[in-house]
Assembly symmetry: C2
């Protein structure tokens, strides 16, 4: 994570994983979720927080989820069902449940199918927030498969290359691939220049943005380290690449593929034309259906080792690969606890007081 | 295509598709290919040329292929066979044949599997150049499937983010998706800032590069519109994004995924550690296995129309989507012929003279 996104040291409160896990499960259960769904939803948020991906963890998102359960935006007890199925594929209706717990069930089905047929893919429509995509891809990884998660939906945040109006969300992708000795390859990125939650986080901690991260309302990229405008209508997010010369048509293309695989394959239609919609695409490739698992993992070790052994460019200490620093952060946080902004702890306290949940944190 | 990559007007010789098709088939047959393989190989090159993707067409590549057949780098009559198979997947040994004609057979198998099981995926190892990836993805598209092609291999051209040594090739991806009335979505990109062949093309036509497209040998991005250095050891290609701040870790990540899906899933191992290797990953998703084909295509029409209807940013005439300008270029070239550099026509003439092939062009 870029330094600018870290919680300033003076505002940090360290909380042990198990304490935050218990508190978060309590919150979900109080919103009406079953024990299993509360546990699954919490697992997704905690894995984000442990990996240092706080944009998708408890801090940024839990308060919104509680609001959505309160106002009926999402259903705590959704009727999740398969609406179409073939040997290796399925399309699921998420019953307007949060993807946090609907997603893992869809990926579970993709894994079952991959185990039988070599690969499996499941789309989900009529659902809401999935949380960190890497969680779902890592489910397949733990079964010696390559896991893929791709999502799209509302709200809109990205303008196409050369465009001046929102047409796509941040349409992220995540791949997770096992290795033997090396920390696994876990790649989870938005197809905008930065994830949407990172913009809000930058704003909350008062950090400026890089050039070409966003455009003004007329579509012209904003330069000179702008602050994020207060009004959501005063900027457009640019596709990965930023400008055409720097490859933004590629970011835009990967975003469009995400829209197609999730929104259009699931039968929902483009998110831009279907307000409020959100959908997912999960896929699992069984390694053994292509090659020997042991050879695959040892080849992965050699590949990842070769990447970290790359001599670094001037001004850099070392070369990373996707998932490496998140793995290191997880180990650190197991020891030290998770550094939350004190404002997050205050939110838990006031929710606990208001709803009589008996949560004790920090 | 950026203006800088077009053949200068004074050097253009327009040739009709059928004339170039016949000439190219003759060249392949003279190199020992069967009629079917010569036709397939030519089809791939001609589709590139018709779509305005001359980097992967006859101009840039055919002379290399002829050399490789001459010196035994590739085999004109490869023993292509399946080395592992499950219901929905297979791994193929390409018998060191050119991907130009081995690839379509692998994609054909993926399509058959997708038709039976909902999706199909085939890796190919022990092979060489595939040509334009979009060709193979479009094969699935024509069967109402989403086609995906991902490749990796040698030679090395990309340094990882923060790195100062080559570890990956240009590791491109291609998706092709059908629509009903709109030209189809066909997305085919390198995960470097620009395709390798575009750099050679820029050099041949004397065009400078953009900032952050390449780095010096120490890994520092080159600025101020550099010319491409003459010596391949004097530069490194940067991942899509260029710098970490502009998202090069995302380009690097997609490149690594391509390496894993093709090189490592096919049992070859990382290309960097296996000199001379190249491999492919093909996938086909049957639309009907997820949703109604008619609805899917009409949703695609609406999505693509909404993209082109996006109001343009200052300095731009219109908003495109992947595959649109290539479709328009194809229509234009059907009418006007394909604009080749006169140097290409000269090459055909001298080859025809040397080998007594009787080729007449321009």
């Amino acid at each position: 994570m870029l330094e600018r996104f870290k919680v300033p040291e003076e505002d940090r409160v360290y909380v042990r994983r198990d304490a935050m896990q218990a508190a978060t499960e309590t919150v979900f259960k109080a919103s009406g979720l079953s024990d299993e769904d509360a546990r699954l939803s919490t697992d997704v948020l905690m894995l984000s927080d442990m990996r240092g991906c706080e944009t998708h963890g408890v801090s940024n998102m839990l308060r919104h989820y509680v609001e959505w359960y309160d106002d009926g935006t999402v259903t705590a007890t959704p009727n999740v069902r398969i609406t179409r199925e073939s040997d290796a594929t399925a399309n699921m209706d998420g019953g307007m449940g949060l993807g946090l717990h609907v997603g893992p069930k869809a990926m579970e089905l993709a894994i079952e199918k991959a185990d039988k047929f070599g690969m499996g893919s499941v789309t989900v429509h009529n659902t809401s927030h999935l949380g960190m995509l890497a969680y779902h891809s890592m489910m397949a990884m733990e079964q010696d498969m390559i896991g893929v998660t791709v999502i799209a939906g509302n709200p809109m945040s990205m303008t196409p290359t050369f465009g001046a109006e929102l047409r796509l969300a941040t349409n992220p992708w995540a791949y997770a691939v096992p290795a033997e000795k090396m920390p696994p390859f876990v790649f989870d990125v938005a197809t905008t220049q930065v994830a949407g939650n990172k913009l809000s986080l930058a704003k909350r901690i008062g950090s400026p943005l890089e050039d070409h991260w966003i455009a003004g309302p007329d579509g012209a990229p904003m330069l000179n380290n702008p602050q994020l405008p207060d009004d959501r209508n005063d900027y457009l997010m640019l596709p990965m690449g930023g400008t055409r010369e720097q490859g933004s048509h590629k970011g835009y293309g990967f975003a469009a593929v995400a829209e197609i695989l999730s929104q259009i394959m699931s039968g929902t239609g483009a998110a831009f034309l279907n307000p409020g919609s959100m959908s997912f695409w999960f896929c699992a490739y069984k390694i053994e259906a292509f090659t020997e698992v042991a050879k695959f993992k040892s080849d992965m070790d050699e590949f990842l080792q070769a990447l970290v052994d790359t001599p670094p460019a001037p001004g850099h200490d070392r070369v990373l690969y996707a998932g490496l620093s998140e793995h290191e952060e997880t180990q650190l946080r197991e020891k030290e606890g998770i550094p939350y902004h004190r404002e997050v702890i205050d939110w838990f306290r006031s929710l606990s007081d208001a709803r009589n949940l008996g949560i004790e944190l920090g």
